[in-house]
Structure formats: structure tokens, C-alpha cells
Amino acid sequence: MTTTDTRLESGTSDLYLSMYRDMVRSRVLSDRMFALNRQGRAAFAVTGQGHEAAQVGSAYALTAGADWVLPYYRDVGVLVALGMKPYDILLGLFAKAGDPTSGGRQMPCHWSWPEMRVVTRSSVIAANLPHAAGIAYASKLLGRGEVTIVYFGEGATSEGDFHEAVNFAAIHQLPVVFFCENNGYAISESQEKQMAILHVADRARGYGIEGQTVDGNDALTVLQTTRWVIEECRRGLGPKLIEAKTYRYAPHTSSDDDRRYRTRAELEEWTRKDPIDRLRNRLLADGVLTPDADGAIRAAAQREIDEAVEAAERAPDPPDDDAFRYVFAEDA
């Protein structure tokens, strides 16, 4: 496991502050989505509390709008980092007409965002890994310099589609990053029920590509590793597998009761490694952040989400006939 001793280079403090802010916004938004479900105001919630360093750290390594992004349902932090407004994410939560990601059709957090090259995904685990490989093949064929990143959990690596996608990407040395957020559980199943290896990154060896395990709760390490890997991809050195070890603090989804399969002690232990606390402490120690500035960031995030919730909840539902649109292209 790589834990880089990242010294803050001059000129990077704004960047790190921005990352920190997005991690906080992502956490506040995620907490709120869960709460809205618990209050009976949202039918379903799936969120990524605990994954913020992995998500925001990796997303900050991307060239937004140029690189292709295939997030999974837990990637609130990726979307926030890419610049999706909480309001838009909340329109999806409430399945409203204006939901730019699916028009209220998909479960929350199944994003599509063409402007940012965020590609639509289903709920079918691992099915989008071959899409990432295909997108990267097209980039190469058409001679474009962009890189594709696809996100998934460690459970997803059990699916045949994981294998076929990584194998295809390796054969053609495609510019694609397979980014695994390993939180140790697939719903209730702990990692050893999914694989007989300690590190998801070891899967890479069967394909002849490099795998790299990083501390997924350390945003700066994630950023640096992902940057390096993307750089290698861009230089045509082929696909890579990154495993970011982390933990989810919330139940799998609003339908799950994680007390059936995780001890509170384990959760407690990981809470002490909270990725947001960790980056905050680092920034405070380095003098990039002050307690006051931190308070302002948190208050602003709360305010932003409050306003977004209020507006999104009031947005109109789609009209009935909307259900028939876009089965096929309408101009065809």
C-alpha cells in the first residue's frame, strides 16, 4: 500500500482547499440524502460517506470535460468534484422532471452528464467496465489524448464483465484507469467472500498490467497516484488498476441495515480514520486552513445543500407522457 509523504508544494494550497471543500460538500450532501430518506421525503438513497478522499482525490486528477468518467452509485464525491451542482443531484434523488441525469427515471446517483463526459450506467454491477474499455478504444482509434476512468467496488471485481473489460484493455494497451473503491464490503459480504487475495490490485497481475494499492482515506496520496497513472495512460503505457482502500460509514443504501453484518467497533475504528478529518488536520497543520476558514467552509456547504434541497423538492414531476420519450431517438 502506497502512502506518499506528500509535501505541499507552493501554489497547491488553493487546490487542496478546493478538494477539501468538495469533500465536505459531498459529505454534507450525502448525509442529507440519507436523512431525507429517513424522513420519508426520498424513496431511496445511496451515498458515499467515508469514500470522499478516494472520490475527490481521484477526480481532481482528471481533466474535467476531456477525460471520460464512469462513476458508480457511491460516487457523490466524484460528481461534486467534477462540478455537478447538489441541486442537480437532488433533482435525481427526488426523481423530478428537470433531473439532468435521467429525467427522474433512474435510481438516485446513477448519473449521466454528457457535457462532462460522465457516461450513463445501469444498476448492474460491473456492466460498465467494458464500456470504459470501448470508450478508451475509440479514443485511441480516433487519435484523441483523453483518458477514461471507471469506478467500482471490490465486489464488482467478481463479475465476468470485470475480467473481460480489463483483459480487453490490457490487450490493446488502452488509456483507461480501473479505479476500485475497496470498502471491504459488498452489501453484507466482506472481502474474503469475493476473492482469495488480500489486495484487489493483485487481480491486475493476471492481465499483465500494473495494479496499485493506495490508502483510500488519504486524499493527497490518491490524487498523486491517480495523476501519475493517468499520465502514464496518456503517454500510451496502457491501462492500470488502482485500489483505494477505504470504508463506508453509512449502510449500503437506505434499504440496508449494516448492523446485521458489521460491528460497531469496526465502524468506530474506521471513523477515527475519517478522510475529511485527515485532510483537515493536514491543512490546519500546514497553515493552509484555519479553524475559522474551516467553519466557514462547513457553514457554506450546509447552506448550499439546504437551499438546494428546498428548491429541488419543489421542482415539478415529469408529466405522464414523458414516460414514452426517448425509447429511440426522436428525430430518427
Binding site: E189, Y261, D320
Partner: protein
């Protein structure tokens, strides 16, 4: 007798059969903690992790290893977490399980059950709402059952487990806690194959299966108050199909409405309509009608849109009135 929900009926069947057959096991994702719908709640403690098996997140192999287990003396009952996630296992179901006996000229059998929660109406959105029976009931070599009551759910699951061939057992998620019934204590089975006349009436015939059969029955009761007397046929099993019951029910009233939750075109309703159009032709007094979800790619998350698309008691009652008036 005891009052049981649909899902309790399923759990009781699993536990009773596990008690009977030491070679039986249940397997699937999150099975040990009870399954996402809690069908296997408490089974880990009772039967241990070898017989209550958490599988990797990999549907093709869930069915594939089950086939192997069945071949080597076990009785696997696999769970696919949602019907929407059954497609990765289609090759194992269709190319393998369904053709296992036929292609080996009875050399090998595949006594296996695959339980699959299906259906909409729970705000499950596009990938937690689908119906997949039309594809599977089309495959010779698979038995496909879709019980609509707790009584049938328990009895047919037991029959499925004791069946020497692969049985796809489709259980409606919305039925799990909605449907309750007094069930007899102890062992009973409900045979795979025969449809069940759930109501007899001379004005029109409604044919359905799964949770929609329940909705049809409700609609029929509603219409009885208006003086329209309906026969309601609950197919219960789609493969092998009870053609005689279909033809007899259609003949009786000369007017048939078929209802299913799956989308219309190419749905299993087409098969039922075709059987009626061929074998009850002389007795038909009206066009054979179908009511189904319109042809859109699965249910939207938005609740209003889901209600708009999904067949319901009200829509069924309307279609029945319409047909009765023909």
C-alpha cells in the same frame, strides 16, 4: 393454521425442505445475513455457512455452480437478488440448465431451483422492477412458476425443490409483505403445471399470473358489485403451460382479457392470446385483449410515472368493463 406473509411462506418452505434434505443448500448474494428481502433470515444459524452460502457477486457463476452442485448430488436453491440482474446468468440458465438433460439423453439431470424476485411497484426504478418471465418461459427445458398467494408460494416452492428438473421460481417483491394468508401447518405441495380458477363467472374471462393475478381478482370482485361476473384464471405456472385451462376459461365466456406486468410486445400474453385465438376461436365473442405495461425500457424511478405505466386494479377493472361491453 397460521397467518403467513408471502415471504414467510417462502422462508418456511426453504427451512422445511432443508430439514428434510441434508443435501439441499441455498446460495446467493447476502444470503447469510438473510438476503436483501430477508427470505433466508435465520437460516445461517440453523444450517451453517456451507449450506447457506454467500456467493461472490457473479450471477453467471451462481447459476453455473448450482448446476454443478445439482450434478454431484446436491439440491441447490439459488437466489438471484433481483430479476434485473438475471441477464448475466441467462447463458447458464438457457444454454446449460435448460438443455442439461436433453443434450445428455437423460444421462444427467439438473434438479435445481433459481429463486428470482421480480416486479415493480416498489419505487425500485429501472433496474429493480423488471419482469423476465417471457424470455424464460420460452425456453424448452425450464419450468417457470409464478405463484400469486402465500399458499401457492409455499407449496410450489416445495414442489420445485423436489422436481428433478430446473425450476425458475419468480416471486413478486411487492407481494412479500402485502399478501397474507392462513396456511396449513406442516408439509404440503402445490403441483407445478395446473392453473387455478380463482373465480368463476360467465361474463368475461381474465387470465393472469403472479402478483397481477391478485390484482385481477380484486378487480373482478369490484366488478361483481356492478353486475359483471368474471372468471379469473391464475396460471401459476407458465412452463409447462396449462393450455387446457386457458382454452376452457376463454370458451366459457367467449371474452378474454390477459393481464401481465411485463411490457406488452413479445410478452407472455401473446402466447396466451395465440392459444385462445387458435383453440377457442369458435367460441369467441370479442377480440382477445391484453393489458400490460407499455413498451418502455423498464420502470422510471418517479412514482407518478411508475403508477402511470403499471397495470393496476383500476386499469384492469376499466379494461374488463370495456371488454364486457363489447
Amino acid at each position: 393454521m397460521a397467518l403467513k406473509t408471502y415471504i414467510e411462506a417462502i422462508r418456511d418452505a426453504l427451512i422445511e425442505e432443508m430439514d428434510r434434505a441434508p443435501n439441499m443448500l441455498v446460495l446467493g448474494e447476502d444470503i447469510q445475513e438473510g438476503g436483501v428481502f430477508r427470505a433466508t433470515d435465520g437460516m445461517l444459524e440453523r444450517f451453517g455457512p456451507q449450506r447457506v452460502l454467500d456467493t461472490p457477486l457473479a450471477e453467471s457463476s451462481i447459476v453455473g455452480v448450482s448446476i454443478g452442485m445439482a450434478t454431484n448430488g446436491c439440491l441447490p436453491v439459488a437466489e438471484l437478488q433481483f430479476a434485473d440482474f438475471a441477464y448475466p446468468a441467462f447463458n447458464q440458465l438457457i444454454s446449460e440448465a435448460a438443455r442439461w438433460r436433453y443434450r445428455s439423453y437423460n444421462g444427467w439431470g439438473c434438479p435445481m431451483v433459481v429463486r428470482i424476485p421480480y416486479g415493480a411497484g416498489i419505487r425500485g426504478a429501472m433496474y429493480h422492477s423488471q419482469s423476465i418471465e417471457a424470455m424464460l418461459a420460452h425456453v424448452p427445458g425450464l419450468k417457470v412458476v409464478m405463484p400469486s398467494t402465500p399458499y401457492d408460494a409455499k407449496g410450489m416452492l416445495k414442489a420445485a425443490i423436489r422436481d428433478p428438473d430446473p425450476v425458475i421460481y419468480l416471486e413478486h417483491k411487492r407481494a412479500y409483505r402485502m399478501l397474507k394468508e392462513e396456511l396449513p401447518d406442516g408439509d404440503y405441495t402445490v403441483p407445478i403445471g395446473p392453473a387455478r380458477l380463482r373465480r368463476e363467472g360467465d361474463d368475461i374471462t381474465v387470465i393472469s399470473y403472479g402478483l397481477m393475478a391478485h390484482e385481477c381478482l380484486q378487480a373482478a370482485e369490484e366488478l361483481a358489485a356492478e353486475g359483471i361476473d368474471a372468471t379469473v384464471l391464475d396460471l401459476r405456472t407458465l412452463a409447462p403451460l396449462d393450455r387446457d385451462a386457458i382454452v376452457a376459461a376463454a370458451r366459457r365466456t367467449g371474452k378474454a382479457l390477459i393481464v401481465h406486468e411485463d411490457n406488452l410486445t413479445g410478452g407472455f400474453g401473446g402466447e396466451i392470446a395465440a392459444i385462445i385465438a387458435e383453440h377457442a376461436f369458435d367460441d369467441l365473442d370479442a377480440p382477445v385483449r391484453r393489458l400490460a405495461t407499455p413498451d418502455v425500457p423498464a420502470m422510471p424511478f418517479n412514482g407518478a410515472l411508475e403508477d402511470f405505466l403499471l397495470p393496476s386494479r383500476e386499469k384492469i377493472a376499466d379494461a374488463m368493463r370495456d371488454l364486457a361491453a363489447y
